[in-house]
Structure formats: structure tokens, C-alpha cells
């Protein structure tokens, strides 16, 4: 079952914040986040393994609410380099990706 991401797309100005949500209809044991820049391969950002866990990576952080079967990715003080498509992935023996959220950061 593919996780559902929202929003599908977001446009930001440099310095603004954004939140990308990922939800699943099935129980989650781990959530992965990847970023794919245009024309490139997806690149791993972080993995959250426990319910309620929060992780950070520079100014990008994420939370994982196991009970709600949701994860959120927080991008603060966005930079031009944050532009790309963000995917969450959930595991049940194989990594299934959400449909992606396209993030554009404008100067």
C-alpha cells in the first residue's frame, strides 16, 4: 500500500518554512525520506525507526507518529538547494514510496 504525501507541490521563497506530510493506512515500523533533484537519483535524507522519533539533518528534520501512522518532514529557512522532489518510503519487507512532493524554492 503506497503511502500518501501532501501537499503534491509547494513553492517557497528562500528563508520560508515548509512541511511535507506522509501517511499510511497500514502500521508503520519505519519511515524513510529521500530527495530527488531534477535529472538525478533519489538521495537518502533520514530514516525514522521508532514511534515519536524525531531526527534532524541540517535544517531539515522529521517526526514519526507511529500511532497516527504519519510522518512529517520539516524544512526550515529553506535554501535554493532544497528544491527537488521529496519522497517518503515505508517498509513492509520492501520500500514503497509515496507519490512525491515537488518543492521549488525561489530567490
Amino acid at each position: 500500500q503506497q503511502p500518501v504525501q501532501s501537499p503534491q507541490a509547494v513553492i517557497l521563497r528562500e528563508g520560508e518554512d515548509a512541511v511535507i506530510n506522509c501517511s499510511s493506512s497500514k502500521a508503520l515500523y519505519s519511515v524513510h525520506w529521500y530527495r530527488q533533484k531534477h535529472g538525478e537519483a533519489p538521495v537518502f535524507l533520514m530514516i525514522l525507526l521508532k514511534g515519536g522519533e524525531q531526527k534532524g539533518h541540517d535544517k531539515i528534520s522529521a517526526s514519526f507518529n507511529e500511532k497516527k501512522q504519519q510522518s512529517s518532514l520539516y524544512l526550515t529557512a529553506s535554501q535554493l538547494s532544497y528544491s527537488g522532489t521529496y519522497f517518503c518510503g515505508t517498509e513492509a519487507g520492501k520500500l514503497i514510496f509515496g507519490q512525491g512532493t515537488e518543492l521549488s524554492v525561489k530567490p
Binding site: 524513510h32 530514516i47 519522497f87 520492501k94
Partner: protein, 113 residues
């Protein structure tokens, strides 16, 4: 020194032809994958091998046949190509088949005319 390398990067071919994509990883990982990314950017898992053994085989047409000669290599052969096969095919690897980080290759863009 590229961690996961795929060849070729681009393939343009006619319907009905057969083509292969090769993938190699030098990370010492046990598990390798093929993902297909369509024009809407949807990343869908196709196959996974763990130490040369097929462990995931999604509902992919029989025209697609993966082969893993050793744990560092995973190839994808596609017979009788169709227009709908046009996509970017990504190879990836992970340390093992558990909750592990995927390292993706640069992708192979297949265009079927």
C-alpha cells in the same frame, strides 16, 4: 569512484526490440533492487535480490527478467519493448534486506518509439 553504477544512461529503441541495463555496486551491499520511475515521478519497486537470490518480484510483466550473477551485479533484460516501458530505471543497493538505506544509481532513461 561511483558506488552504484548503471549502463547505459540513455536508451532509445523501437517497439518490439530487446534491451538490457546493467548495474554494479562497490559498496559491499548484500541487496540490490530495480525501481521504475514513470513520467509522473512515481517510483515503483520491480525486483530485489539478496545475495543473488530473488526476494521481491512485483507484478511486473514476464518480458522483464532480472539476473544477478553475483551480489555486486544486477542486470535487467527487457524483451519485446512496448511504449509503456518508457521510463527511468533505477538500480539501488542496501546493506541487507531489512530497514536499510538505499543507495541509488544515476538511472537509465529508456525511450521506446
Amino acid at each position: 569512484d561511483t558506488a552504484v553504477s548503471q549502463t547505459p544512461k540513455y536508451l532509445v529503441t523501437q517497439m518490439g526490440n530487446d534491451k538490457s541495463i546493467k548495474c554494479e555496486q562497490n559498496l559491499g551491499h548484500d541487496t540490490m533492487y530495480w525501481y521504475k520511475q514513470d513520467s509522473k515521478k512515481f517510483l515503483k519497486i520491480m525486483f530485489s535480490y539478496n545475495n543473488k537470490e530473488l526476494i521481491i518480484n512485483e507484478t511486473v510483466p514476464n518480458r522483464f527478467s532480472p539476473k544477478s550473477p553475483d551480489k555486486a551485479h544486477l542486470n535487467l533484460h527487457i524483451n519485446s519493448l512496448e511504449l509503456g516501458d518508457s521510463a527511468v530505471y533505477f538500480c539501488a543497493s542496501s546493506r541487507n534486506s531489512g530497514a536499510n538505506v538505499l543507495t541509488f544509481g544515476a538511472g537509465s532513461r529508456l525511450t521506446v518509439l
